[in-house]
């Protein structure tokens, strides 16, 4: 303790001037803010708003599957009054296209990188802000043109209808499908904007993490959250340009007739045969070269955050910190060479499929290692079952299902059957909803006190958790059975086919589960808004956690820390004897042996 002067946290008060001025008026403080915390909160509310939109779209899709061609509530009488509320099949394709688009590009990617990346990176590594605060602001504001484009795509031109994968020729030629006209161009522009936004974010995160770590914060003392976000940023920086290029090629195909993706001689919608010489597979390669790593972009940050939260909630150091880091890096690097497993049946060279299959099998390995490590972290821990813990365990429990069903998909011959059936839908919803969103729910609950200085309501949080968990499993688990029975995805009316007729009751059960799940999210919103204003005040470190952000005030002021953060330890030092505490913060020099109570009071 000799180097540092005592302060409320036992740390040295801040002396150096801030790198940039504190914002003055309302607009620079809350709207065009360059403060990473404000930007993170902007991202949070925007993505939550978009989650409502995406969820509503999902419910509309489920409605059609459970009650095909019956009057769709609200939407039907509004848009399809002349048909008695019965939606049209192309509207259904637009619904699931937009559901995927909104959920992936406007909810999951921005809530992870945008909200938690922005909020946690500077705080956890002990920086006073991002490396490029203006770029950071821009990355948030580039989301809005994207939202505007997606919105315009729907209102102005009927909505894109070729799935979020936007496969040519369907998406390439205006006559191929309703919604492949202007709507598709808007959609592509929207994706490009989102790409810009993510790109700016990822450059910023990489720079910040590499250059702005607090003294003592070596790479292997970084919390897992930072590792997750760091690797995600690298993934994004390498994969995204490919998608942007591909998207641009599709735009030029559509507007300038460049024929990258369509061969000659196609006769679509009775139009003249196309000229061309392109190859539809090219798009699939380009698209999946980004979109497979994108799956990990949607997963790795959560893996990191859950590692930290679990370790804190179990009051136990993370089991196998280095293996976790290594497996994360392995996932990221293998993630670049498995994109072909989305294309086993596409007509790609089958021998290449075999190579992709081996790589895909191998990528299951690091995920397995991580699962075992998390379980081992819980083993021998001292658990408190609060909302954070519950959501983290739900993450783990459902990630196991998502991971295991992935093995079926990796096996080429089996995948041939399951490709584009509901089995796939089950798989990625278990990963993206089951794992990612439960992780996000946990993270919101966990870092909420740091964001707003108040705790979230436990009762509401638990009710929300239970309903969501039951709803999610009720919705997504039966999808495995639908897939086994060969029900293809993206069917507006699967019951036309004799072998699928008997699936209606199962789909109705799933829809009811989905409605419960959707309704449960109302609780989340109530909880957030209620707790923002009326929740109990939180201190600096309500969870008794060890990482740097908990040493800062809640909420942290401009410049984050009121002391110079110095790091002396790895991130998850729990379960040891440190005075009357069982944890050692990264800023604390060393453990204090347990002392009688009277003495501890004097040191404070």
């Amino acid at each position: 303790m000799s180097v540092l002067n005592p302060s409320p946290t036992g740390l040295q008060p801040i002396l150096k001037p801030l790198s940039h001025h504190a914002p003055g008026n309302f607009i620079t403080k809350y709207i065009f803010s360059t403060d990473h915390k404000v930007i993170a909160i902007q991202f949070l509310f925007t993505t939550l708003l978009m989650m409502i939109v995406g969820g509503a779209l999902a419910l509309a899709v489920r409605w059609q599957l459970a009650f095909p061609w019956e009057s769709m509530p609200i939407v039907g009488p509004w848009l399809f009054a002349a048909e008695g509320g019965q939606i049209s099949p192309e509207f259904y394709t637009m619904l699931f296209t937009m559901h995927a688009t909104v959920m992936i590009f406007l909810v999951i990617i921005p809530i992870l990188a945008g909200t938690f990346g922005n909020f946690l990176i500077p705080l956890m590594i002990g920086a006073d802000d991002m490396a490029f605060p203006k770029l950071n602001m821009l990355s948030y504001w580039f989301m809005w043109p994207a939202i505007a484009c997606f919105g315009l795509s729907f209102t102005h031109a009927g909505g894109p209808a070729s799935g979020w994968t936007s496969y040519p020729i369907l998406a390439d030629l205006a006559q191929a499908s309703p919604g492949s006209g202007t709507a598709q161009t808007y959609w592509l522009l929207g994706v490009t904007f989102i790409g810009f936004s993510s790109m700016m974010g990822s450059i910023n995160y990489m720079t910040t993490i590499i250059n702005m770590r607090a003294p003592g914060m070596t790479f292997f003392r970084m919390p897992m959250t930072i590792w997750g976000l760091f690797i995600t940023a690298i993934l994004q920086a390498f994969a995204l340009p490919v998608l942007t290029a591909g998207g641009f090629m599709q735009v030029t195909d559509r507007l300038l007739g460049t024929c990258f993706f369509y061969p000659s001689g196609l006769i679509i919608n009775n139009a003249a045969p196309t000229v061309g010489g392109g190859q539809p597979l090219l798009w699939q390669h380009l698209f999946w070269f980004y979109s497979h790593p994108a799956v990990y972009i949607m997963l790795l940050p959560v893996m990191g955050m859950v590692s930290d939260m679990l370790s804190c909630m179990c009051r136990k150091p993370l089991f196998g910190y280095k293996p976790m880091v290594i497996s994360m890096s392995a996932i990221a690097s293998l993630g670049f060479i498995v994109w072909g497993h989305h294309m086993y049946t596409s007509g790609m060279n089958p021998a290449v499929g075999m190579a992709f299959m081996v790589a895909t099998m191998m990528i299951a390995l690091p995920s397995a290692v991580k699962t075992f490590n998390w379980t081992a972290t819980i083993w021998g821990g001292k658990l408190e079952f609060n909302t954070v813990t519950l959501n983290c365990i739900a993450f783990l429990s459902m990630f196991i299902v998502g991971g295991l069903s992935g093995i079926f998909m990796a096996a080429v011959p089996v995948d041939v059957y399951f490709h584009d059936t509901y089995f796939i839908v089950a798989h990625f919803h278990y990963v993206l909803f089951g794992a990612t969103l439960f992780g996000v729910f946990a993270a919101i609950q966990f870092w909420f006190p740091k964001m707003f200085g108040r705790m979230m309501n436990e009762k509401l949080g638990k009710t929300h958790f239970v309903l969501t968990f039951i709803g999610a499993n009720g919705t997504f688990f039966p999808m495995h059975f639908l897939g086994m029975q060969g029900m293809p995805r993206r069917y507006a009316d699967p019951y036309l086919h004799g072998y699928l007729e008997h699936l209606l009751p199962m789909n109705q059960f799933m829809t009811i589960s989905a409605i419960i799940m959707g309704a449960a999210q109302i609780l989340l919103f109530i909880n957030i808004f209620y707790s923002m204003f009326w929740g109990p005040k939180a201190g600096r470190n309500p969870w008794n956690a060890t990482t740097l952000e908990w040493a800062a005030p809640s909420p942290p002021g401009h410049g984050n820390f009121d002391f110079v953060p110095m790091v002396y330890h790895g991130p998850n030092e729990y379960a040891l004897v440190n005075g009357d505490k069982d944890f050692l913060m990264q800023t604390e020099i060393e453990c204090q042996p347990a002392k009688p109570k009277t003495e501890t009071e004097t040191t404070v």
Binding site: L318, P350, V414
Partner: protein, 277 residues
Amino acid sequence: MGKGWCLFFLFWPVAAVVSCAMAPLVGWSFPYDNAQAASNLGIRIDGLFYLILVITAIVFVGTQAVLVYALWRGANNREERASYLHGNHKLELIWTIIPGIILLFLAIYQMDIWADFRIKKYYPEVAVKDPLAEVTARQFEWRFRYPAIGKKLQQKPQSDDLYSVNELHVPFGRPVLIQLRSEDVQHSFFMPALRIKQDALPGLQIPVWFEANKPGTYDLVCAELCGWGHYKMKAHVIVQSEDEYQNYLKNLTERQSYDGLGKIAATENGTESEATE
């Protein structure tokens, strides 16, 4: 409270296992009679599926059980502190190597099936020499072109080719090959009963072979989003004996060259499905 939560997390894997166990009994399994594939290759693929299912089921039950047990212990932990443990190299090595071996085994084990299934070198010679038909997917139906009886399928349509729509007849007991193409956007030739799926890629002609081993009427659907009517691409594949198949071709020839007079006049507006029922 903690115990209650442990039961909560125990409940759902149990429900999952129970529903999976009863799935074949209530018909939540592969479609058609007894969930058995209608081709030998399909049966091999199912075998692979069941192998993976057993492995994943063991892993699933194991991990969930350990998780719940760990939770149970964690909830009832009466120690003052959790155990201070940063990791264990031996354990890490074990649980890296064992799954690694299993995964590698799975990867190598299935290569044979995949090679027989798709690698052109291993295609059955009989089927390659004499393709059965050309299958053209278009928005939103399947169109089939057979060569005239006694002739071979040509790349380009011939005047005596036989055409049908949404109804493919196939003989069983011998491997057959179809040339798959698309007239407009991407489609996917999906026959659940035979565990076959192949995208129809515009601009390419993709040969697909299969060998049905029992007669029956199976669904042929489209598995790649092809526009608003994706769900409408509904066809039947009718697997029948060689004799019946030849008869069908004869009927088709007769019907297709019908000039409004003569014997089939009475049923001239009758549709082809009559011949199949």
